[in-house]
């Protein structure tokens, strides 16, 4: 394990480990993109990355990207197709894992990136879904990445942009959602996995230097179970060098 790393860097390393070799991953931008790059170049060389604008990548992009449509993401892509083609692939169940971030998450893994407060009189208008709702509805597994801040963990989010387990066990099947729902929540303090039968988060590991009590204190209204926890494995020297190759100034992970 490398000795010094930022919370962003350990989140990327943890997220990379959620991509298994040979899987099809709906990637998105920022930390998930870096996670895809790390996974591709370490344990998952056969993984395929999809970007909702229509880009299919067999190889990590050659340089840091600010958006999925930056020209280096398209040059050398395995394919560049209409957005509807990739959304169709997602809907028919071909995507193993998707990544999204959220402004707020609740006890059942529902995410809000739309409105803090009400639709009629919002306190904060957030940007909205983009492709996040689609990934949450349709991917076989959903990995959520977000900063660990009390205000972000709610009993019930104000607005369900991207559904997790809705109102609890059985809800996804009841409303007709085909995807599997959240499998992991990676924060700046630890990694949770979801008990998908109960629809609830279970703390799996605390990042180095963080205790379970620290996490409890900073988790606001998030309800989670604690079984046996261990320290999150930090980024290896190799993982860290890949992350810093893509993000040399710490723009995303600093």
């Amino acid at each position: 394990m490398a000795s010094e790393f930022t919370p962003g860097e350990i989140m990327v390393a943890a997220a990379a480990r959620e991509i298994r070799d040979g899987e099809v991953a709906f990637v998105g931008m920022r930390l998930p993109l870096l996670a895809f790059c790390v996974a591709k170049r370490t344990h998952a060389p056969q993984a395929v990355g999809l970007f909702e604008a229509g880009v299919i990548r067999d190889a990590a992009p050659p340089s840091m990207l600010y958006t999925m449509c930056d020209p280096p993401n398209i040059a050398g892509a395995a394919g560049c197709v209409p957005m509807l083609t990739l959304m169709s692939v997602l809907q028919r169940g071909d995507v193993d894992v998707g990544f999204i971030g959220g402004a707020e998450v609740d006890r059942y893994g529902n995410l809000n990136t739309s409105y803090i407060g009400s639709y009629e009189a919002p306190k904060v208008r957030l940007p909205g879904s983009g492709g996040a709702a689609d990934i949450a509805c349709l991917a076989r597994r959903l990995v959520i990445i977000m900063p660990h801040e009390r205000r972000r963990f709610r009993t019930r989010v104000d607005y369900v942009t991207s559904p997790g387990f809705g109102a609890g066990p059985g809800w996804r099947a009841h409303v007709g959602l085909p995807g599997g729902g959240p499998s992991a929540l990676i924060t700046t303090m630890g990694v949770f996995e979801y008990d998908r039968a109960a629809g609830e988060a279970v703390l799996r590991s605390c990042h180095p230097g963080v205790t379970v009590d620290d996490i409890r204190r900073e988790s606001g209204d998030l309800v989670f179970r604690v079984d046996t926890t261990e320290p999150t494995a930090g980024p290896t020297a190799e993982e860290l060098s890949i992350i810093r190759e893509y993000d040399p100034t710490g723009f995303w992970t600093g």
């Binding site: 604008a53 958006t67 020209p71």
Partner: protein, 304 residues
Amino acid sequence: MSKVMSMRDAVERFVPDGASVLLGAGLEGLIPFAAGHEIMRQRKHNLTLLGPISDMLFDQMIGSGCATRVCAAWVGNVSAGLGHCYRRAVEHGIPHPVEVHDHSNFTFALALSAAAQGVPYMPTRTALGTDLLKTNPGLRVIESPYDGSPLVAVQALEPDVAFVAVQRADEEGAAHCWGAMGVAAEACLASRSVVLVAEQLASHETIESDPNRVLAPHFRVSAVVHEPFACHPSPMQGFYGRDHAAYHAYHDVTRTETGFAAWENEWVHGVGDRRGYIAKLGHERLERLFIRRRRLAAEVDYGL
């Protein structure tokens, strides 16, 4: 018959007050900022903005006061964060309130696809169980007539006009487009009028040489605007990269209403037209964005 006209004429003709206007079909690339800025210069009113993401262009148009409704999956500034003008409009009604119909990228694409195919809706399983169903009247849950499963019926969305950026077009509106195209093809079929914003005006022979690369039937196109660098600061594959600094600078200066007004005066009204905008950007800045290393595709043989 040539469909070539200036951006000024295209906006005057195809964007009446109250129109629904699709911009940014390519998501974060190929965004025709030049069209949006001309709409702002002509001080159009009461527009409905349609687009999946459109990066910060919608924020600018909302700040200028030309939009009263937004129908989109995402509005903000992709690399810098929240859209300040969007927030001011939705949270405080500044410069006036905007009504939002929330889509996801998939439902937006399906809404266009329905209009493109001339049917009232498209069924999908996405968005089931989300609150998008509550904040978009064009998303309704129905039951499949075949297996009874719940589906979302996404209502067809027929823009009055779509501005679609392409690398090259001929005078009649046959065009080649490449790179990440998002919903560009659906937009060309779904919209009542289509204005192509072309980096290059190409000969008919050039377009005919590669018919598989043609974006849409040329008879769907109403106008061709030849406007180099029309997508800055968004990228155009094969021509120029994304000007990240422009997004961050805009984000910083538009934190306040007066900051936005100053930005708008400087970069939209003050420049007069796209030529003035490019002159203001300056040669050095453009030079840094131009593609340096060409990467040509293999030849395609359509031989007989």
